[in-house]
């Protein structure tokens, strides 16, 4: 609502909504005005805001097609949830971690493997991740974009503690101080080289008969430093700027996405491909609820009329247009640690696309999704006003 109100103010003043957002950042950005400003500049460049922007309803008309630009900003928490895990290192060098988390398609399992593998200096294929069962140590539910922070915390903590123990054994064997050891490329040796080193497997054989089991724990909001208070591994609160370019057929009310740019900060990017995939998915969901998805309830019968897939409208590949995803990750963001990502980018599309449609038409389509019906009705109402 607020985001479309900014745009309406811009329309009324006949100025670019970019400027209205920019001038109002200090009062709406939770102290992150500089982050938003930098992200706005990146997004504007990627979508060509300066070249393409025109006053609301005053763009060129090509046949019955008009185009428009819109933007919106968002914020979200994304702090990690309480999570525990059990890391096991077997005497044969096998590594596994078990936790009652789940991968809902976001790549959680891959991210966990990455964190553990990197800590031990092993390839990702050297770590077995066990999730998806309540029999494992409790980790949190997937909601609120809290999973990645939680599972990274518990696994990094357990892995570091386990590595300490392995270092202790290796130090004795090699006759070097444990503090000088590093785990890298499948070997444990002295930092900065030297010929004294053991392979990961040799190091683990020092465990004897029994595997090493280490529990990792992270408690959200704890005051105990041992459980994660003041942790630098994860963080919360992100910004994010999105811009949409649309084309509208004013004769039929059909809105088509031309381009969508999402600029997002998420602290430390654990896995670039998976993180980008999350944003693409969020944007597509955003386009879906902006232009297509709607639960149509019948007031007379109380039934949902479009509960069949044949009636429930969804965008297809041809409807989503070009999507550009860009991470904002200067050192100041990178060093904040891991922050959840799934939800933040799904907040802005409604406002950004609505603003783009308003910029194209010169009238606001007041309800989402902006179906051809609602666009035609808004235009008819606008013509009368």
């Amino acid at each position: 609502m607020t985001q479309t109100a900014y745009d309406d103010v811009a329309a009324k003043l006949g100025i670019s909504s970019y400027d209205v957002f920019l001038r109002n950042l200090p009062s709406v950005s939770n102290g992150k005005a500089e982050v938003y400003k930098a992200e706005m500049e990146i997004a504007a460049k990627l979508i060509g805001w300066k070249d393409k922007w025109h006053p609301h309803g005053k763009g060129d008309k090509n046949g019955s097609i008009v185009t428009g630009l819109g933007m919106a900003i968002h914020t979200w928490g994304g702090g990690g949830h309480t999570s525990s895990c059990l890391v096991k290192i077997h005497p044969d060098g096998g590594v596994e971690t078990s936790l009652g988390s789940q991968d809902i398609g976001t790549g959680t399992k891959t991210a966990i493997a990455q964190v553990v593998a990197e800590t031990f200096g092993l390839p990702v294929s050297g770590v077995k991740v066990n999730i998806g069962s309540s029999k494992f140590p409790a980790s949190g539910p997937s909601g609120g974009s809290t999973t990645i922070g939680g599972v990274c915390e518990s696994n990094r903590r357990a892995s570091l503690d386990a590595l300490d123990k392995i270092f202790g054994l290796v130090a004795g064997k090699l006759g070097v101080p444990a503090t000088q050891l590093v785990a890298k490329d499948g070997r444990i040796g002295v930092a900065g080289g030297g010929d004294k080193s053991l392979s990961w497997k040799e190091a683990c054989s020092l465990l004897g008969m029994m595997p090493l089991e280490v529990k990792g724990e992270f408690v959200r909001g704890t005051k105990d430093p041992k459980l994660g208070a003041g942790s630098l591994l994860s963080n919360q609160q992100v910004a994010g700027v999105q811009m949409a370019e649309v084309a509208v057929d004013v004769a039929t009310g059909v809105v088509k996405m031309a381009k969508f740019v999402a600029v997002q900060d998420i602290g430390l990017v654990v896995n670039r491909k998976l993180a980008a995939s999350q944003i693409y998915g969020s944007v597509i969901m955003g386009i879906a609820y902006s232009l297509f998805e709607e639960r149509i309830m019948d007031a007379q019968t109380g039934s949902m009329l479009n509960c069949e897939i044949a009636d429930y409208k969804l965008p297809r590949l041809g409807d989503v247009g070009e999507i550009v995803v860009e991470f904002y990750e200067p050192e100041s963001e990178y060093s904040r640690g891991v922050i959840g990502l799934g939800e933040p980018p799904v907040i802005s599309p409604g406002a950004a696309i609505s603003n783009a449609v308003a910029n194209a038409l010169g009238v606001r389509v007041p309800i989402l999704p902006m179906t051809p019906k609602r666009v035609v009705e808004a235009l008819a109402k606008g013509a009368k006003a």
Partner: protein
């Protein structure tokens, strides 16, 4: 789903002999893309399904001096890929718009012409005509803007019927005692008067076997107003077939879809364009003429505008002119 008997005969006459004269007792199965969902919802509860996809004569496309004859079980995909039908861009455009490969490859011509209405009150079990009051007072954004004065307020769902009617298609159907009927496709559709009645004149024991298209050299096109790129029903559609000589329209057939309980032949639009060249202005006038007598319901007034635009764009496309929209 109710248990049913299944038959897959190899000859047209055998299909007919397996059909019952009692409404709803037997159903013809072709692609099944519409029938099976209806059976799953128990809206259609046949005791026997007669699969016609094993009948060779129903799967052929043949061309002779009188035109093209297409079997009812020919798939939409086969129609799309047959070069002999390139002179009917209106048909091909509609099939392309159906978009889903599953529907194109499984769906058949006869099945497409005989689909049951998509009215969501009907599909949710409130009856076809019985839902008239619900439609009138409820969610009617996709319902009829023409011919909706009676209890039938749904829209004819066939996407190909407007194009085929505009092109002068005839249908052939057969029944018991070797009876055979041929008539213009336009006359095939009717507005049901009682709850059990279907939307075509086909009796329960009759089989639609072929569609015949004359090779009349008509300039033709179809324009569907589509919300998105998917297989969803268009909001409104229009097909036009024109005989143009010396730059002037001599004969015209303009048929709208998704606007009335039957495909809607717009004589007014045809009359508006006959005797004139097709251009932006005459096309717009024809569009306006087409909707002059529209009777929208409480929530579908926007479809009047869409129908006007669809007529305008179908005419321009038929004449090979750009229409300036999506």
């Amino acid at each position: 789903m109710k248990a049913f008997e299944y038959a897959a005969p190899k000859r047209e006459a055998d299909v007919v002999s397996l059909l019952s004269g009692t409404p709803g007792e037997t159903e013809i199965l072709a692609g099944g893309t519409d029938l099976l969902p209806l059976m799953q919802k128990m809206l259609v509860t046949p005791s026997r399904l007669v699969n016609i996809k094993e009948v060779p004569s129903l799967k052929q496309i043949s061309v002779d001096s009188t035109g093209v004859t297409i079997g009812a079980a020919v798939t939409l995909d086969d129609l799309l890929n047959d070069a002999r039908l390139d002179c009917f861009p209106s048909i091909k455009q509609v099939i392309r718009n159906i978009a889903a490969p599953q529907l194109q490859q499984q769906g058949t011509l006869g099945g497409e012409l005989c689909r049951r209405p998509n009215c969501w009150y009907f599909r949710n079990g409130y009856g076809l005509l019985g839902a008239a009051k619900l439609v009138e007072n409820g969610e009617n954004r996709f319902h009829a803007i023409f011919g909706n004065e009676g209890p039938a307020k749904f829209v004819s769902p066939s996407r190909l019927a407007p194009a085929l009617i505009a092109l002068g298609a005839q249908v052939r159907f057969i029944g018991p005692d070797e009876s055979e009927t041929k008539l213009p496709l336009d006359g095939f559709y009717r507005v049901p008067q009682t709850e059990g009645e279907r939307e075509t004149i086909l009796e329960p024991d009759q089989l639609l076997t072929h569609v015949h298209l004359p090779l009349a050299g008509l300039a033709n096109a179809a324009y569907e107003v589509r919300h998105g790129e998917g297989p969803d029903e268009p909001l409104v559609s229009c097909a036009a077939a024109l005989e143009i000589a010396g730059g002037i329209v001599r004969h015209a057939h303009v048929v709208l879809g998704q606007v009335a309980p039957t495909p809607w032949l717009s004589v007014a639009a045809a009359e508006a364009i006959i005797g004139k060249p097709v251009n932006a202005e005459t096309a717009r006038e024809a569009g306006e003429a087409a909707v002059a007598w529209a009777t929208p319901l409480s929530d579908n007034g926007y479809k009047v505008q869409l129908a006007k635009v669809a007529v305008e764009r179908a005419l321009l496309l038929a004449a090979g002119l750009p229409h300036g929209g999506f």
